[in-house]
């Protein structure tokens, strides 16, 4: 980012918006928008409290479990769909439906099926993340260089060898792209689940703080959540850039 010909350090835009937020907060534009500095001081107050740590743990646990199933079911399913025409035609309509469906509306059904506990929260998280992971893995496999497949076959690769040693690696740039979006959707999923299913984790904190109009507390939790999601997405982005060199010229 450049300003008056000077190169600003990375994330400068964040500083600018933060500053604007602070000014708006100090001017007391709205009750719902406390000053950024007040939010940070609240964050410092609450981050070591038992309530906060417990919420962090509950949300983190559901998130990790949900993402785990999304990845370990989604990636192989996507690869197999990209490889196998029959499987693809069988599953693709469902994947597309769920991809664009308002999943929040399904949460009550999940509650009926799986109860009001952790299980439903984890399943909701998985459902938010898995479809884009499947679609991206599938897309990665579908643009594989045919000669690589011929090469593996000509040297006698078993189907499992081909899957693990060729298809997975060839699709890796797209798979990582899918994981990045999937993880962000999983953050959304876990919070929605915690608000709708059983009031635990960060969902419970949101509920508590907003019902009591503790706006600085409310924003503090949101900031933590944003920071976590952002870090996660950046980490995956870094990983994706590592394999970028072959995404563009796969034929070699």
């Amino acid at each position: 980012m450049y300003l008056f010909g000077y190169k600003l350090p990375g994330m400068s835009s964040l500083l600018i918006w933060g500053l604007l937020w602070e000014i708006a907060g100090q001017m007391e534009v709205s009750f719902f928008l406390p000053a950024l500095s007040a939010i940070f001081s609240t964050l410092l107050e609450i981050y070591h409290t038992k309530v906060f740590l417990r919420a962090l743990y509950e949300t983190g646990y559901s998130f990790c479990a949900g993402v785990f199933f999304a990845v370990f079911i989604g990636v192989p399913t996507g690869i197999l769909m990209g490889k196998n025409r029959f499987l693809d035609e069988l599953l693709l309509p469902w994947v597309n439906v769920f991809m664009s469906a308002p999943l929040t509306a399904l949460v009550p059904i999940l509650m009926v099926l799986f109860g009001f506990g952790l299980k439903s929260i984890i399943i909701t998280t998985t459902l938010f993340a898995i479809w884009i992971i499947i679609l991206n893995s599938r897309a990665g496999v579908m643009q594989i260089n045919r000669s690589l497949v011929d090469m593996a076959n000509s040297f006698g690769a078993s189907p499992l060898d081909a899957l693990i040693k060729i298809y997975f690696w060839a699709a890796l740039p797209e798979i990582l792209g899918g994981l990045r979006i999937g993880f962000i959707r999983a953050v959304k999923g876990v919070i929605i689940a915690q608000l709708l299913i059983s009031i635990v984790g960060f969902g419970a904190l949101f509920e508590l703080y907003s019902s009591r109009f503790l706006m600085t507390h409310f924003w503090a939790v949101i900031l933590v959540l944003f920071a976590l999601a952002f870090t996660l997405s950046e980490l995956l982005g870094m990983l994706a850039r590592k394999v970028d060199y072959y995404a563009s010229k796969r034929s070699q």
Partner: protein, 256 residues
């Protein structure tokens, strides 16, 4: 060649290949003598790559059979190795893993397969590039990796699908010279697909001229007079030049 009767390493007998309505190959029969290099030469659409892939077992024939060293084959096997036109290297793996990949799939241990791979990497002139990645190499070097991979599984039959068509002209000439030495020194049977008349005449013991619509073997040419000459004088040899000329005469009607 001096030997009158040569055993065939590969025989193709009455092979048909249809893609739905389209007839890609019709009643193709062809013998590939052991220890020699046979070219499949012809204009695009004559089915030469299709035939090569059927021999490799990568494509099923609609009808007919392929016999490799006395056995009918329908699938890829350790008796054949393939060199690809676009190299088919794994971009995520370094040179030594790419070269050793055929051995890796056959379950050869890491130490042993890397030892074999290093030897062939040296043989194709890539010593020092073992830990480079394909995107760091030139086109010619990449094809040397592809060749080293095919050599390191030590198959008696080497199938090459226009292996030099994606490299520049100078590299290509060097490759052709190297190929002649390879045929001389490695006791292997080479089946070589090309659309270059000069290349086919330069490197081949036997040229199968394929013509399209429907695909068939129109002629088998065995240039013999200049095969013993050294690599530099072949291109000036009168038989070489005459053979190139006569093949062009047969093919020119198929070029619009």
């Amino acid at each position: 060649m001096t030997k009158e009767i040569l055993e065939n390493a590969v025989s193709v007998k009455g092979v048909y290949k249809n893609y739905g309505e389209v007839e890609a190959l019709r009643d193709m029969s062809l013998d590939f003598p052991k220890g020699q290099l046979t070219s499949l030469l012809g204009p695009s659409g004559c089915g030469k790559t299709t035939l090569l892939k059927i021999i490799a077992g990568l494509l099923p024939a609609t009808q007919g059979e392929v016999i490799v060293n006395g056995k009918v084959v329908t699938k890829p096997g350790p008796d054949r190795a393939f060199v690809f036109q676009d190299f088919a290297l794994m971009p995520w793996a370094n040179v030594i893993r790419n070269v050793a990949f055929g051995l890796e799939l056959r379950g050869v241990g890491k130490v042993e397969r890397e030892e074999i791979a290093s030897k062939y990497i040296g043989n194709v002139g890539l010593k020092g590039f073992e830990y480079s990645f394909p995107h760091e190499l030139s086109g010619g070097m990449r094809q040397r990796v592809g060749l080293a991979r095919a050599l390191s599984v030590d198959s008696p039959v080497l199938l090459m699908d226009e292996p030099f068509s994606a490299v520049d002209e100078q590299t290509r000439r060097k490759f052709q010279e190297d190929l002649l030495n390879l045929v001389k020194n490695e006791n292997k049977t080479f089946i070589f697909v090309t659309h270059s008349i000069e290349e086919a005449v330069y490197v081949s013991d036997q040229i199968a001229l394929l013509l399209p619509r429907p695909s068939r073997v129109s002629e088998i040419i065995k240039p013999s007079g200049f095969r013993h000459k050294d690599v530099d004088s072949i291109r000036k040899d009168s038989e070489y030049l005459d053979t190139v000329e006569s093949i062009w005469k047969s093919l020119r009607t198929y070029v619009e």
